[in-house]
Symmetry: C2
Subunit: 353 residues, 2 copies
């Protein structure tokens, strides 16, 4: 604590990113990165943008990228916002749309940054319990709220909420903004983007970090009605007019253009996920029905924390959450087939099969 | 106005960046960009970082860049914060240190983003008048305040505040944070960085946008006591853990390493500024004593707005501020010698000499 901190600064409980240990080289299955490199066309586009024009400010409206994303998703440019990763966009959205006079609703088991944003903006929150099978229960999201946010698929449970449930939620909350955080949607889910034409209260947030293998480039999008996009721009332009650098803008456009590469790598991740899910079940694990680039697994007899520690000793990093309801689960990112073979071999040693 | 906007969103008056017109090619002297390209070593470093590792998150602590900046300025890593441009860092600093229960002080003529940040964080502000010659009067910054921010050199006046005055301000406000925004310090001023060893309430903010020709890369720094850097990190990690992408980190380290290039281009800008200052004086302009990469000039008889419009017609973009006290001035960024020759020729036509 410092006397120079504002009351806000003193009150915060900052987010803690997944560990990036530097002591040795691990098989890194702990931060849901894509095991495949970005498209070669992305690399070329970035190298092409590494030129004398870096002396000039980037386009603060991100016009080229916004238009590329609009074209890709069949939207108008006015329905698209681009930002410095979906985390930044979520922060802007919490400030732009959520009402401090009411409570903001999100699942009890979900992306742990949501409660951090809420603290930052002085928002009250209410956690809505997932059911016993970790399904989001949309009927439990009562309408007396200051906004709703749900990841789809949810993290770390990996489970998908059907579009019909999202439609129900949007229709029953016509005066509140509902944010669907689709960080993992490309690994087997159906995006809610099409619903923005019917529901002006829907904001869909996506990222290039996972399915486009660009966690290191920091690019995210929000899709929604023009009034929601305007709201995001008001916050952004009161914070930092130039959130995206020239290299990220160039690389992101190239990523959207190389759809074949995206489909190919995404299909590989999905195929590996399905194979790994079967294999861990044979080793005595239960697994949720994942539509993400990770699996969420629990062994019938061995404690999750023990498995986590033993995997780490064997050079395999996964994510363990020491919190109620999920402290017998491990979240395991889908790596290459070779990495997952090593993960399965390590598990076999641990469970003694 | 939208019913979906939070009260905050509705209350904001967002910043308006300098125009980036697309109708034709201008000699662009309106956004204080450096006329020289970044160091070739920066370009090489970025191209080298455009590789498969972009699939991985960047280091959220920016350790490599923080250490490079600490080494450059003779500081410990704990005294350095790196961010996505100095605008983002200023936004974080307003939230981290300024007290909403008191008034935040800054000059009446200054960087126009300060009042935007204040609105974003619900801060009351009091403008402290520059004297008739546009000098900051440190004795006017009374101690009953919730924080102070001053650019040095000031913008758009271009004038420098001596370190002794900053020392006075720091000593007379031991319980408040004083931010010195040194976006333009490398063009003839002396940085206050050395004072952070004596004053735990000092935060110095710098950027690679101007003197390192990297406005398009979005990199800024803050230097201060460990408790201030901790405060910035608390805000950052409640907002977005990964504000800087891998390319910006690599390019920024290379920029700090190529000091010879930096000194060479900075000296060229200064030499051009001194020459242009003499030439405009011969054309009937008054000019402030600039220590920045722009000049702030006023003609003895012709209205600034008329000159602005005529320059624009002649293909030269400068910045005009339609606000009290400075509405007879133009802010003109220092371009290459060729660009400034064209600017002077255009002025000669306008003033009829």
């Amino acid at each position: 604590m410092s006397k120079f901190w504002s009351p806000l600064t003193a009150s915060l409980v900052p987010y803690v990113p997944g560990e990036q240990p530097k002591d040795k080289t691990y098989i890194k299955l702990n931060t849901n990165e894509n095991p495949y490199p970005p498209s070669p066309k992305v690399i070329d586009a970035i190298k092409g943008a590494a030129n004398a024009d870096l002396r000039l400010y980037p386009d603060p409206t991100c016009e080229g990228l916004v238009k590329a994303a609009a074209s890709y998703y069949g939207l108008r440019a006015e329905q698209v916002f681009a930002g410095n990763g979906s985390d930044e966009i979520l922060a802007f959205a919490f400030a732009a749309f959520f009402d401090p006079a009411k409570t903001v609703l999100f699942p009890d088991i979900t992306y742990s940054f949501y409660k951090v944003y809420a603290k930052l903006y002085g928002l009250q929150t209410e956690l809505i319990a997932l059911d016993e099978q970790f399904n989001v229960q949309v009927e439990a999201f009562h309408s007396d709220n200051g906004g709703i946010i749900i990841p789809n698929p949810n993290a770390p449970t990996a489970q998908l909420l059907p579009l019909e449930d999202i439609r129900t939620l949007l229709a029953s909350n016509p005066d509140q903004v509902v944010i669907i955080d689709e960080a993992y949607i490309d690994f087997g889910g159906q995006s809610a983007v099409e619903l923005i034409h019917d529901y002006p209260n829907l904001l869909v947030v996506q990222t290039l970090s996972k399915s486009r293998s660009l966690a290191g480039l920091r690019v995210g999008f929000a899709f929604g009605s023009e009034e929601l996009i305007d709201g995001l721009n008001r916050i952004k332009n009161s914070f930092n007019s130039y959130t995206m650098d020239r290299l990220a803008l160039a690389g992101a456009i190239a990523a959207l253009e190389d759809d074949a590469y995206f489909r190919d790598t995404t299909e590989k991740v999905i195929a590996t996920r399905e194979r790994v899910t079967e294999q861990v079940k044979e080793l005595g694990f239960a697994a949720t029905d994942s539509k993400a680039n990770f699996v969420f697994i629990s062994h019938k007899t061995i404690a999750a924390k023990d498995i986590f520690v033993q995997l780490r000793d064997k050079g395999v990093l996964v994510r363990y959450f020491d919190q109620p309801r999920i402290n017998e689960y491990l979240r395991v990112s889908i790596g290459t087939d070779e990495e997952m073979d090593a993960f399965i071999r390590a598990l076999q040693e641990i469970v003694g099969e």
